[in-house]
């Protein structure tokens, strides 16, 4: 226990990286997810086919394999990425695929009459999407997005294998130094748990605020 307290600063730095990776990949994943959803719903056959393929491949392969491809595979083609960059890229690609399905469902859940009303008022398809459909879809998408976010918070532990010193690897480094495992693992388990609970709480607040209008 004392060891944990002595090295708390180090573990906090790990937690910081865990959070950073989660937030950055969530941010880019969101953009990728939205683009994929729009490509599938509004794109021509080629775009929607490509988007469908992307989602199928990413969802059908282990996230660890994706991380390895980005970090260990790409250097074969002369693209060498730092561990952190590789983590950002592989997780963004991964989240994007999952979120695109969430967004697609949410967009489809907005009644057709909304589009018709907007178009009869003269809005273009893009204006309709941006002013009418997406705001309503966001409300539907936020609860599952929150789950993806919290899921990702935990999945980031996978990038410890490419030597990103996030929370899990911080613990492993300490364990290697002190030859005791349990206190460190317990400590990071608690830290993961605290972060999850904290974000669940925030997400609940957001959901409540969004549902106010209805």
């Amino acid at each position: 226990m004392e060891l944990v307290l002595q090295n708390f600063q180090f573990l906090l730095t790990g937690a910081y990286y865990t959070l950073l990776i989660t937030i950055v990949s969530m941010f880019f994943g969101l953009i990728i997810g939205l683009l994929l959803a729009l490509a599938r719903l509004k794109g021509n056959w080629l775009l929607s086919g490509l988007a469908k393929g992307y989602v199928s491949i990413v969802r059908g392969t282990p996230i660890l394999v994706q991380i390895f491809i980005i970090y260990f595979g790409l250097p074969d083609y002369g693209i060498t990425l730092g561990p952190l960059t590789a983590a950002f890229i592989s997780l963004s690609i991964n989240i994007g695929a999952y979120l695109s399905e969430t967004f697609r469902g949410a967009i489809l859940s907005v009644p057709k009459g909304q589009t018709e009303a907007a178009q009869s008022l003269g809005l273009t398809s893009w204006q309709t999407m941006r002013r009418v459909i997406l705001p309503q879809a966001a409300r539907v998408a936020i609860p599952p997005m929150g789950n993806t976010f919290i899921g990702m918070l935990k999945e980031t532990s996978l990038v410890s294998v490419v030597t990103v010193t996030e929370l899990l690897r911080s613990a492993q480094l300490l364990i290697a130094q002190y030859y005791v495992a349990m206190p460190f693992y317990i400590a990071i388990a608690i830290m993961y748990w605290v972060m999850s609970v904290f974000f669940s709480f925030i997400l609940n607040r957001i959901e409540n605020r969004l549902s106010k209008a209805y």
């Binding site: 009303a117 003269g122 209008a213």
Partner: protein, 257 residues
């Protein structure tokens, strides 16, 4: 000079021919009530006039915008855009935007489509809400309003684009009977102010009192059109007589054993 001129209009969904060879001429300030049995294509016709459905034959001229089946894709798109700015549409299910307040619903299109300043749009929006008797609800969300109030907001929203023509597709059919009056009153007022209107409705009292012309559609064609007095007193076709008997709740002789 006609406000709306429809020639040889046709529309099918796959194998189902909804209507074909529809001709329609509507003068400025005219109130036309469109009636007909369920599935006769009334909604589809209105939606074709607003570009929500694409006809597969014929031409539509509305004000100074014209759409023709033989035009290329981009001219068609442009024509539809132009037609939409001169027509307002009111739907059976209101279709208000649930994430916007009443006032935001009304001012959204003028600010986005017409690039009107917010101040000006709010001024117009508030005047329209006052006109439909709902200025006190300007900051409410649609879910807090009754059906009749929602439909009046929807009318104000369409009017905010300053259309020359208003299309109504069964505007009171989704309402409880005691709420239809307030919506019909607003429509009547609009008619008196000289708006050109096409109204699909089962409210025969409204048709009698407000319409200049009744068009009866059935089996994919316009069966007859005449003044309300004539249509209700002496319908020309057997189809129309049957329709009127049904709608007035008189048992239909043909179905009696």
């Amino acid at each position: 000079m006609f406000m709306i001129e429809v020639k040889q209009l046709g529309k099918s969904f796959g194998d189902l021919v909804v209507f074909r060879d529809i001709h329609l001429h509507i003068h400025p300030r005219e109130i036309v009530v469109l009636v007909g049995p369920s599935g006769s294509g009334k909604s589809t016709l209105l939606r074709c006039l607003n570009g929500l459905e694409e006809p597969d034959a014929g031409s539509v001229v509305i004000g100074d915008a014209s759409w023709d089946f033989s035009m290329d894709v981009s001219s068609k798109k442009q024509a539809i855009r132009k037609i939409r700015t001169s027509t307002g549409m009111v739907f059976q299910s209101f279709n208000l935007f649930p994430h916007m307040t009443v006032l935001e619903n009304v001012i959204m299109a003028p600010t986005i489509v017409k690039k009107m300043s917010r101040t000006e749009a709010v001024e117009i929006g508030e005047a329209l809400l006052a006109k439909v008797g709902l200025l006190n609800k300007r900051d409410e969300y649609p879910s807090r309003l009754s059906g009749g109030q929602q439909q009046r907001v929807a009318i104000a929203r369409a009017l905010a684009m300053q259309p020359e023509i208003m299309l109504f597709d069964e505007p009171t059919s989704a309402l409880d009977p005691e709420l239809t009056g307030e919506v019909l009153a607003v429509m009547k007022q609009l008619a008196e102010e000289g708006m050109t209107m096409i109204v699909v409705t089962h409210e025969m009292k409204f048709a009698r009192e407000v319409a200049n012309r009744v068009i009866f559609m059935s089996d994919g064609v316009i069966q007859e059109e005449s003044t309300p007095e004539q249509f209700f007193k002496q319908p020309k076709t057997e189809r129309a007589r049957k329709f009127l008997r049904q709608i007035e709740g008189v048992p239909d002789i043909e179905y009696q054993v």
